[in-house]
C-alpha cells in the first residue's frame, strides 16, 4: 500500500481530505480526525482554507418565505419544509414530480367540506369524451345524460 497521507497540522495519518479549486488553481489539504474536528487550530492557512470552503458553498436559489426552507435543503433531504413550500418550489419540482409520479394533476379526494375540484375537472374531461363517443354511436339516451352531467359540473366549477 502507498504511504498514507499525513495531517497538514500534526503529521498523524490523515483521514479527512479537502480540495479547493479557485479559478482553476487546485489546493489540497489533509487532516487527521482530531485536527479536522478542531478546525485545524493554530494554523492560519487551514483557517483560510476552511473560510474559503465555506465561502464557495452555493447560496440558495429559492427560499420559502413561510418556513425558511431552501432548495439546498431539499437536495439534501429530499423532503420539503412546509405545505407552502409546494407553491414556492412548484416549478423546480415539476420535473421531479413527472419522474416519481408520472402526473402533475391531483384527481382524487379533497378534505371534508371542500369541493373536490381536481376530481370534478377529471370527471368533466372524461364525461366530454364519453359524450362525443355516445353521439358518434347514436346512443342519444346516454348522450343526454352525459350532456346534463357536463353542464352540471361546468356550473359547479364556474361558481367556485
Amino acid at each position: 500500500m502507498a504511504n498514507p497521507l499525513k495531517c497538514s497540522v500534526c503529521d498523524a495519518v490523515a483521514t479527512v481530505h479537502l480540495t479547493q479549486i479557485v479559478q482553476g488553481k487546485v489546493t489540497k489539504v489533509d487532516f487527521c480526525e482530531a485536527c479536522a474536528a478542531k478546525g485545524g487550530a493554530g494554523d492560519a492557512a487551514v483557517f483560510k482554507l476552511a473560510d474559503a470552503v465555506n465561502a464557495v458553498t452555493p447560496a440558495p436559489a429559492i427560499t420559502c418565505p413561510q418556513c425558511g426552507f431552501t432548495d439546498i435543503e431539499f437536495r439534501r433531504r429530499g423532503r420539503l419544509g412546509c405545505p407552502s413550500c409546494w407553491q414556492v418550489f412548484g416549478v423546480a419540482l415539476g420535473g421531479l414530480l413527472t419522474k416519481v409520479q408520472h402526473e402533475i394533476q391531483h384527481v382524487g379526494r379533497a378534505p371534508a367540506g371542500t369541493v373536490p375540484v381536481g376530481q370534478l375537472r377529471h370527471r368533466l374531461l372524461a364525461a366530454q369524451l364519453e359524450l362525443t363517443a355516445a353521439i358518434a354511436a347514436e346512443d342519444y339516451e346516454t348522450a343526454a345524460k352525459l350532456r346534463d352531467e357536463v353542464a352540471r359540473i361546468t356550473t359547479q366549477l364556474d361558481t367556485l
Binding site: 384527481v107 382524487g108 379526494r109 371542500t114 376530481q119
Partner: protein
C-alpha cells in the same frame, strides 16, 4: 395505558377465529395528511412539533373510533415497548426512532394514527384477510372526521400536500400482506416481483422497506399517489392481488402434485421441528410457520388452526418475545423462550395429512 395491554388484548390479526384467510394475511390503507400553516415534522422546531402533537392528539381522541384508545408518546416509552409497536406494524421504525412522535391506536388495534412521523398525520387502517373496500371505507371516514376538525393542507392541483413528493396527491398507500410459499417453492417469485414493479407496485418484506421476506411473506403496495383517483389506485392493487392469489394457488397445487409424499413430508417435518425444538431463531420459526400456514390453507391441517400460526408469527418476533417475558433477553434466551411458546401452542395440533384443497 401500556404496551402490555396491546399484547394482552385480543385483536383480529392474532386471535379472531375466522378473520384469517389463505394467501392474504392482511389489508392495509395509509393516508398521509398535514396541518395547514405548520412546518412538516422533519423541519419543524421542537416547540412546533409539540403544538402539532397536542392539536392532533386532542382532535383524534374526540373521535368515536378512538374512544378509550391507546395514546403513546414515543419519548415516554422504553425501547422494548417501541419495538413491539413496530413489530405489530402499529407504528413505523421512523416514528419509533424519534422522540417527538406519538401514536393513537384504537382499542381493537384496527386503526392507528401516527403523529409527527414524516408527515403530521399518518392514518392507518388494517384488517385481517383481504378486505380492500372495507378497509378503505374506514380510512375514508376517519379522514373526513379528522378533516372536519383540523385544517388539512391541500391544493387543487397537487392534492394533499406531504413532506415527500412520493406521497403528494392522494397521500394513499394501499397494501396487501401476502404469503407466497407456492411461488417461492416453484422458483417464480423473482419473475412475479419484476412484473409487479414494472407495473408500478412495490414489493417489500414482512417489516416493510428494506426488510427480508421472512416466512415467504411479502407486502405489495402502490407507488404512484398523484394523478390517479383513490378508486383507480385501489382497483389497480386489487386486480394484481387477485392475479397473485390465483397464481399462488396454481403454484401450490402444482408443487403438491409434483412432490406428492415429499410435499407432505416437508410440512410434517416443520411441524415436528417446531413441536420439539428447544431453541428457535426468529428466521427459522418464521420459515417453519410458513409451512404450517400452507398446511392449513391446503387442508393438510385444520383451517381453524390458521389463526394460531398467524399469532405465533407475530408473537415470535424478538421484541414480542422479550415483552412477554417482561425483561430483555440475550439471543439464546429469546430463542429458548420462543421455542417454549411455539411448543406449547402446537402441543395439541393434529398430524399433517394429505392436501385436500
Amino acid at each position: 395505558m401500556s404496551v402490555q395491554e396491546i399484547l394482552a388484548d385480543e385483536n383480529e390479526l392474532t386471535h379472531l377465529l375466522g378473520a384469517q384467510q389463505a394467501v392474504v394475511l392482511s389489508t392495509r390503507v395509509r393516508l398521509a395528511r398535514n396541518l395547514e400553516g405548520f412546518p412538516f415534522p422533519g423541519w419543524a422546531k421542537p416547540a412546533h412539533r409539540k403544538e402539532i402533537a397536542e392539536r392532533c392528539i386532542e382532535a383524534l381522541t374526540q373521535l368515536p373510533r378512538f374512544r378509550k384508545s391507546h395514546v403513546f408518546k414515543m419519548g415516554d416509552l422504553p425501547d422494548l415497548d417501541r419495538a413491539v409497536l413496530v413489530e405489530r406494524h402499529l407504528v413505523s421504525k421512523e416514528l419509533a426512532s424519534g422522540k417527538s412522535g406519538a401514536a393513537v391506536i384504537s382499542r381493537d388495534q384496527t386503526c392507528s394514527v401516527m403523529v409527527n412521523e414524516e408527515d403530521h398525520l399518518r392514518i392507518q387502517v388494517v384488517k385481517a384477510g383481504w378486505h380492500l373496500r372495507g378497509t378503505w371505507n374506514i380510512a375514508e371516514q376517519l379522514d373526513d372526521a379528522i378533516g372536519a376538525t383540523l385544517g388539512i393542507a391541500f391544493s387543487d392541483q397537487l392534492g394533499f400536500l406531504t413532506a415527500c413528493p412520493t406521497n403528494v396527491g392522494t397521500g394513499l398507500r394501499a397494501s396487501a400482506m401476502v404469503h407466497l410459499p407456492g411461488l417461492c417453492l416453484a422458483g417464480h417469485i423473482e419473475k412475479v416481483t419484476r412484473a409487479l414493479s414494472q407495473d408500478g407496485l412495490a414489493v417489500r418484506g414482512w417489516l416493510g422497506e428494506g426488510t427480508e421476506a421472512a416466512g415467504n411473506i411479502f407486502q405489495i403496495s402502490n407507488q404512484q399517489t398523484l394523478g390517479l383517483s383513490e378508486d383507480a389506485i385501489l382497483r389497480h392493487l386489487g386486480g394484481w392481488v387477485k392475479t397473485l392469489v390465483d397464481q399462488e394457488w396454481n403454484a401450490r397445487r402444482k408443487v403438491a402434485q409434483e412432490e406428492g409424499e415429499r410435499f407432505v413430508d416437508r410440512l410434517s417435518r416443520s411441524l415436528g421441528l417446531l413441536r420439539h425444538a428447544r431453541l428457535l431463531t426468529s428466521a427459522e420459526s418464521m420459515n417453519m410457520l410458513s409451512h404450517l400456514r400452507l398446511a392449513c390453507d391446503m387442508g393438510c391441517l385444520p383451517e381453524e388452526r390458521r389463526h394460531v400460526v398467524d399469532r405465533l408469527m407475530i408473537e415470535g418476533q424478538p421484541a414480542h418475545v422479550q415483552a412477554r417475558q417482561g425483561a430483555e433477553l440475550d439471543s439464546d434466551g429469546r430463542d429458548r423462550r420462543r421455542a417454549t411458546a411455539v411448543r406449547e401452542a402446537l402441543r395439541d395440533f393434529p398430524e399433517v395429512g394429505s392436501p385436500t384443497a
